[in-house]
Subunit: 290 residues, 4 copies
């Protein structure tokens, strides 16, 4: 099947490779001349036979302008897929805008990171059944072999929503391992921490792909000495907790893992300055000067 693919960064580049290896014709566009197949969006659209399918895989701030530009170039019957990390709430307005021109829209949550090229990508798709059916061969090419790794999650927005929740869970899982790691580090009992992580990789309740990666990281750097305890957060973690608030869902675990990332980026904690100030005021407790 023929696909236009916009955005050939870390994710898009590998997806093109995987799709081509699966026998699909992928025409990629990127502003970076080394990797692009065409010189412009215009050329991309011209090279695709109608009805066209164009998959957008760009950093989230460029998604909206890309869709705007595309909507001027595409025709009724074409389909736009946003596989990036858009907020789910943007999907329905986009779909409605494109629908006025007869253009279809699918939102796809894509998981798999740098390993997806080899292992396949987990895909969560939102949109109309007919658009999903039309694009099925592409999804088949991207997903892992076997029965898992693909879901038609619901109408427009459901794909990004499912991916958002996926990432929220990911935050919580990562932090659970991280707290366990820190406790093992702090304690005098366990002498061989990497070995213990390795033991969990088979037979244990906590076995997972993230655990495999943790083991891999500890093989490379057994005390993680080469790293700082600093982590950015992407939108999905924040949106997950925002949704919990909107829907009155208690979410202590995922929220705590999000807040830990916030804290990891602070040089000093204003809240703890306030605590230090209060302790000094009532108890004369010694404080550290700033």
């Amino acid at each position: 099947m023929q696909l236009g693919l916009i955005g050939l960064g870390r994710m898009g580049f590998n997806m093109r490779e995987r799709l081509r290896a699966a026998g699909h014709e992928v025409i990629g566009y990127d502003h970076h001349p080394d990797v692009t197949d065409v010189a412009s969006l215009n050329e991309l659209v011209e090279k695709l036979a109608a009805p066209r399918v164009v998959w957008i895989m760009v950093p989230v701030q460029y998604t909206e302008p890309t869709i705007d530009e595309l909507s001027g170039l595409l025709s009724a019957g074409d389909i736009v897929i946003d596989g990036g990390n858009s907020r789910f709430s943007n999907d329905r307005p986009r779909a409605e805008r494109l629908a006025t021109k007869g253009i279809g829209y699918l939102d796809v949550g894509v998981s798999g990171g740098v390993w997806g090229r080899t292992n396949g990508y987990a895909l969560m798709v939102g949109g109309d059944k007919k658009h999903v059916e039309h694009c099925k061969p592409i999804f088949e090419g991207l997903k892992p072999e076997g029965e898992f790794g693909f879901a038609h999650a619901g109408g427009v927005g459901a794909g990004h929503y499912a991916k958002m929740v996926h990432n929220g869970i990911e935050y919580g899982m990562m932090h659970a391992y991280a707290e366990g790691y820190e406790l093992l580090e702090a304690s005098e009992y366990v002498e061989n921490i990497p070995e213990v992580f390795k033991s969990w990789r088979a037979g244990s309740v906590v076995q997972s792909w993230l655990l495999d990666l943790m083991d891999r990281a500890l093989d490379e750097d057994p005390n993680l000495d080469g790293l700082r305890g600093y982590a950015d957060d992407t939108g999905e973690g924040r949106w997950t907790v925002e949704e919990a608030i909107r829907l009155a869902v208690p979410m202590n675990v995922i929220a705590a893992s999000l807040f830990a990332r916030f804290a990891s980026r602070q040089d000093d904690s204003p809240a703890m300055k306030a605590v230090a100030a209060l302790r000094n005021q009532f108890g004369g407790h010694a404080v550290k000067k700033g």
Copy 2:
């Protein structure tokens, strides 16, 4: 190799099966006459050739008396293994007590649940290298095939310590999935929740054995209608947070998942009664009568 195995409940019974299937001679003792191989601890010890290895797999409250009884029956050179869920802090005193009679002691954290018989058990072992080496064939018979699933974590206590942290992580992971599930349930976006969980089982960052089980549970009962939101906790979760407190390790995620279990067992929350009382006092907010 020959092994005495005390306790043939859910775990011990399956371990005997797995070890026998691996060619070991297991003599099991249980107070339940249907499953036991011998009539008494005394008979168990008599049937084992010295140096004996006796593995205890009993509910945690029976471990200490069982060891006491055994220590009167065993001889110098024998080894006692506690594979139950003892608190790590009990291991060194036990080992010292047994050492005065020349009896060795290993503490083994065992993960795997009801699946261990088929898949093998992850084993985390604490104790002296020479005792670990002596028992190696038994560990080989219990652990999963392949390079993972076994660690000699450190000296006496390290095995239970590693298992404790393992279970703490397990609490956090389970609750991360649980919060994600609840958000999907509460939201209007995703129509097919079981399908979404299924999609994560391959290619995604959150793939894990627990996720496979979640998918299995949703296959059996797509809305979990047949269950109440109630969960016991075993000692390991509590001990993990206690250790975090002792060692000044921030542990918001695992603590929150422990507290959620506590809350799940309350008919009503005294804390929230206090909140309701306060709101009523200052704002005249309506309260629900008890």
Copy 3:
């Protein structure tokens, strides 16, 4: 000074009383004929001498339509005050809309609940200095005697923002007392819990007005038997955590107290159903049927 006051519910009614007692002329409007001074917004505006000051104190969902209606009735030079619990993000758009007609706008966070009539209300004001100065006599009439209880927090939106944070802090404080109360309740050590709360009311670090109210509540109902552990939440708690997310502020305490309110309103926890399902899958742990 003359004031138009729209909304004579629990808060507005008492504010009218307090202002009148302070010598101000208050013309109140409410849809409820028993308490209103005028029959319509129109009549209210007619009775006020220009430049008019109109204070809106209505449930948050009526604020926007009330302002719309008022903006058609008021004249350049008049000032609208929203003293309700609007989200701070609504203030600037409103102020801009009103400014096109020359009408001023102040947002005022009001704290004090049912006690404000006697004790005075803490007021946090956002808006232009000239508008604040013009309304100063009203603020003086509402605030408590003495040097505290009033702040010009910043430009438009700052008043509601400060009130939002105030309420977020209130959630956290209330829940701190509530957790302490529950621990005392659960423990075998303290025999006289109300007495203990009473002891904290003077000399202690935790003395506060909320503590006084807690003592009052325990005087009325020593075991809080008459209440259910159920609490609604108003917008401010949610917005506080949303702002923490927007601004990358770690906020475990206030978020936890918000989530506890969410949980207090659930008959059963879908998250804990998922935990129960997982435990049953891997460990054969008994579950409670739904």
Copy 4:
């Protein structure tokens, strides 16, 4: 009334002053020659008329040896009071030991910090009614004027237990203010943060003594520039959460404020190193080198 007072540090020194101002005869002992009234414990005991009351106010690690020494010097009918921050679980064993010699024991939780000398100290007392009655004049001299500030909380241990919960609540309250402060700091809305805190000191729901101190701290240093966000924790916070774990009480708020103190003392977070390692493994996300 006559009192022996051991330990004349920040707390004990001020307590001696307050008691003397109330007309009591206090004989103080401290290892520091500048402040002590007697040269030894022996001399202290000799100078007191039987039945003696001796109040211990020493750092917690010296309490046990001090009681041991005292128990060799005192006589049947005397009373020992521990006013320090002992763990409640130490009280009953101590009381039993002293009881074998006919010596009474009271545990007293003392709150008030450096302000107690002027304002009085809140006292929570555990022990037998007859011992409490005997020491009443001392308690009257230490507590604030008025009806609040004293409780006979229950039997031996109840005083320290109540103080422990008091401090746990204090942790939560302080952190609630601290999070509110940080949010105001981070936001662009409120221009005058100290003014806002000041406004809350009267009429508002969050008014408290801690708030007064926060205002005082902001008066001295409006941005808390002179402080580092670093706070020690004393035993009570940890014991509160340990008790929550023992008694299955959900305690997210107080636990989070305790964990925040732990985090404030870390140069880098091992847990966040693990998170960074994982993100790097699966997503190729940039990491900060250690």
